[in-house]
């Protein structure tokens, strides 16, 4: 067996230039794949984290159809006790109750229709990054205070600052007229214009009073330990829901169907590109191996005449390819990991990213994510296709007649 290895290795270096060029193609492709896939997955997890950390959470408890219609009367009754029960069950603070209402916010000289969240000031910072993004003033404190925090664009458009008062007008859960005067205690800046322009938060207790909620709210937001644990999370939350209620549990995918699909759409176009790259490398390997078999026709004829089975020769060719492929994987992964590692610390930015970031709630720099999957998925695919490409040159040997082969000039 050892001799076959040695033969294969020496055969490779008969034509060092050719071998390096072919391996070079693999290294190039592998490096690119490692980098691109790491970057892609880094971006996806950022997208998911960022999108879920604003308001969505890993899952929510809501009234049926609320997610689609967002009507005031589709409530979760006794929402604070429910949230407490969920906290108890999960032994986690990453649970918060919310109400949501549409209202007209008026300052002295401007009025805008905005979305108002009623939040539990004590717990909201565990499920949302908005409290942490409150850059002017402070976040909400007392659960019953007539206080409000709002987005920076909204504050600018209303011509108000921290300390000013504004009026909220809307309709209560029963359709009656609801109004309140609130004091602006903080202004947040999420970087996403749509949120900064349209959203404000008030304490849940005050929200329930103002909109005649009678203890009800609209959603309980829950964060678990990562996306993979969501099904388990759901079943544990289910056990706490009152038996006679028709409340539904929606996971992040149902709450933000666009997110997963945006990722899928992006993935499929990326995979098309990777596939083309892999195919091109396979062509290169096919070419090289076919050449290397053809130029050895005489030699092969002689050893076959001496009694070596074509199958064994075929294995030799495959072994040569495998060696070359492995070399490509090792060097490609190493080079790819180096390049990627540099970007994981320094981040990557390209022109146009700022605008994309503002639109999709992404940071202005992307950081690739290195793990076994992102490191090896691409190179292993390249390796498999390389091996496939060596089948034709290897199988060809079976059709070779030793006598004709020896006659080849």
């Amino acid at each position: 067996m050892k001799i076959v290895f040695r033969l294969a290795w020496r055969n490779l270096w008969r034509q060092p230039r050719r071998t390096w060029l072919t391996t070079g193609a693999m290294i190039f492709a592998n490096m690119l794949l490692v980098f691109m896939i790491s970057l892609q997955f880094g971006m996806y997890s950022l997208m998911i984290d960022n999108a879920l950390q604003v308001f969505t959470g890993h899952m929510q408890v809501q009234a049926p159809l609320y997610n689609d219609e967002k009507k005031m009367r589709q409530t979760v009754p006794n929402i604070v006790p429910l949230a407490n029960a969920i906290r108890e069950e999960l032994q986690s603070d990453k649970v918060a109750a919310r109400g949501w209402a549409f209202a007209l916010a008026s300052s002295d000289d401007r009025s805008f229709g905005i979305g108002i969240y009623g939040v539990e000031p004590e717990f909201e910072n565990n499920v949302s990054n908005i409290p942490g993004l409150t850059s002017l003033g402070r976040y909400l404190g007392d659960n019953d205070a007539a206080e409000i925090v709002m987005g920076s664009v909204l504050a600018r458009n209303l011509h108000v600052e921290v300390g000013d008062e504004i009026t909220l007008m809307g309709s209560g859960v029963d359709g009656s007229f609801a109004a309140a005067v609130v004091n602006i205690v903080g202004i947040f800046d999420s970087g996403v214009t749509d949120i900064d322009r349209n959203i404000a938060e008030i304490p849940l207790g005050f929200f329930q009073d103002t909109f005649f909620m009678e203890g009800a709210g609209h959603q309980v937001v829950v964060f678990g330990d990562g996306l993979a644990a969501v099904p388990e999370l759901k079943s544990r939350v289910q056990s706490v829901l009152p038996g006679d209620s028709d409340l539904v549990m929606l996971d992040w995918d149902a709450l933000q169907p666009g997110l997963k699909q945006a990722i899928q759409a992006d993935m499929s176009s990326a995979f098309f590109m990777y596939f083309v790259l892999v195919i091109l490398v396979s062509f290169s390997v096919l070419n090289t191996q076919l050449m290397s078999v053809l130029e050895r026709t005489r030699e092969f004829g002689i050893v076959m005449a001496l009694g070596l089975k074509p199958g064994k020769l075929g294995r030799l060719v495959i072994l040569e390819t495998a060696m070359m492929g492995l070399l490509g994987v090792v060097l490609g992964v190493a080079a790819g990991a180096l390049v990627t590692a540099w970007f994981t610390t320094n981040g990557l930015a390209f022109p146009g990213m700022d605008e994309m970031a503002a639109k999709f709630n992404l940071p202005a720099r992307m950081y690739p994510q290195i793990n076994a999957l992102t490191l090896l998925a691409g190179p292993i695919t390249v390796f498999i296709f390389t091996m496939l490409a060596s089948i034709y040159p290897a199988v060809r040997l079976h059709w070779q007649n030793p006598v004709d082969a020896m006659r080849v000039a």
Binding site: E69, D108, S171
Partner: protein
């Protein structure tokens, strides 16, 4: 000239000496070039669609506003220029369509719900060319003239408000003195848009009706101009400047929606990077093929040199061989791309990931667009870089020492 013909013939025959190698290489170049153009056509189509759709919503290639409107789109930042003033001064040469509108934030209330919307006071005739929906496909009817007393809203909004054609809604906004300006409207039509977000965003009323409700006389919020091609807005820009005069902000679309403008740049960059990456993957195989072709002909090249052929001719011969190979590969690739893209130009349905595409700002149909300029770009990059890549093996071949080369085994 005669020399060139001979070199050409030599190169051609050499190419087909090892037809397998040539065919594999042609296959590789063909696939590579196909992928370059196909992917480019797909991206172009995507971005085109995205921009056309967004311009259809954000409307117009060039927009005119009060200088402060962009930051604070309220009634205070209106323009005193009336539609009649503009039509008097407008040179309609390059302008396909134009419209002047009232556009302010408002609150729409049905018996059951309230929502924030953008109120558009329009001239239905002027908007026909600009609008993102077809008037004939509106459920019910679209507005008939500037004095129409009805309102047209999106289907999704109607569902949220639990209203329908024939029912009444109330619109509420502000007049220039910050007094509440409101008015009841009968819903006369429901429009369908490509995305739900758009269907929730805009409420159309007659321009004159809106001006009366807001107590602003002849004033408007924006004037939009539409030309033939979003890539070429300069002529319309000039027309707009002469029609509206000084003191207003006149901006092309890519200044208003910086995300779209940036995307256009990002995509142009992406196309070039993609073409170069594919070429690099190809180049390994290409150089390899040439190196082999030279290597197996060392003796023959030595002989030609000994017989008095100039080194330059050897160089030329190899380069011509390479260029022939590339040209054929390009022809195959371009033909393949054309054959695959043209049947798809009527649209690829990607509605499985429709919500995701919506998140990227795209619609659920993809319309690949084959631009001759992209084909030319890809082909010239391949030709140019291919030429450079073949110089090194050709150079080496032309530098052989004749005696050494002939005696080489």
């Amino acid at each position: 000239m005669r020399l060139l013909r001979i070199l050409f013939r030599l190169a051609w025959r050499n190419l087909w000496r090892n037809h397998r190698r040539t065919i594999i290489m042609l296959g590789a170049i063909g696939v590579g070039v196909w992928a370059m153009i196909f992917m480019t056509a797909l991206t172009r189509g995507m971005v085109d669609q995205m921009i056309v759709d967004s311009i259809g919503v954000l409307p117009g290639h060039v927009q005119v506003h009060h200088p402060d409107y962009q930051d604070d789109p309220s009634i205070s930042n209106r323009m005193l220029i009336s539609a009649d003033d503009i039509s008097e001064r407008l040179d309609t040469g390059a302008v396909k369509a134009w419209a002047s509108r009232v556009r302010v934030p408002a609150i729409i209330t049905s018996e059951r719900e309230s929502r924030g919307v953008t109120l558009l006071g329009v001239d239905p005739e002027a908007e026909r060319e600009i609008s993102f929906f077809d008037y004939d496909e509106v459920d019910g009817r679209f507005l008939t003239d500037v004095n129409d007393k009805g309102i047209v809203i999106g289907k999704k909004l109607a569902k949220t408000l639990e209203t329908e054609v024939g029912k009444r809604v109330v619109l509420m906004s502000q007049d220039p003195d910050n007094e509440i300006a409101d008015r009841g409207f009968r819903v006369v039509g429901l429009y369908t848009a490509k995305t739900k977000a758009v269907e929730e965003a805009y409420a159309y009323v007659g321009r004159r009706t809106a001006q009366t409700m807001l107590r602003i006389g002849d004033a408007t919020s924006e004037v939009v101009f539409l030309g033939d091609d979003y890539r070429n807005v300069d002529p319309i820009y000039d027309v707009a400047v002469s029609a509206v005069g000084e003191g207003l902000s006149i901006r092309p679309w890519y200044d208003i929606d910086t995300y779209l403008g940036a995307m256009l740049g990002v995509m142009d960059g992406f196309v070039l990077v993609w073409v170069v990456v594919i070429f690099l993957a190809l180049s390994f195989g290409l150089v390899n093929t040439l190196v082999m072709a030279v290597f197996e002909r060392v003796r023959e090249i030595g002989l030609m040199l000994a017989l008095g052929m100039k080194p330059g001719s050897i160089l030329g011969q190899i380069v011509i061989e390479s260029m022939l190979l590339i040209t054929f590969g390009l022809a195959i690739g371009n033909a393949l791309a054309w054959a695959t893209v043209v049947p798809l130009e009527s649209g690829i349905d990607v509605s499985i990931v429709g919500d995701g595409m919506e998140m990227w700002g795209m619609s659920s149909m993809l319309y690949p667009k084959l631009y001759v300029s992209d084909m030319v770009l890809a082909s010239s990059v391949v030709l140019l870089l291919g030429f450079l890549a073949s110089l090194s093996p050709a150079w080496r071949a032309s530098r052989y020492e004749p005696v050494e080369a002939i005696t080489k085994v």
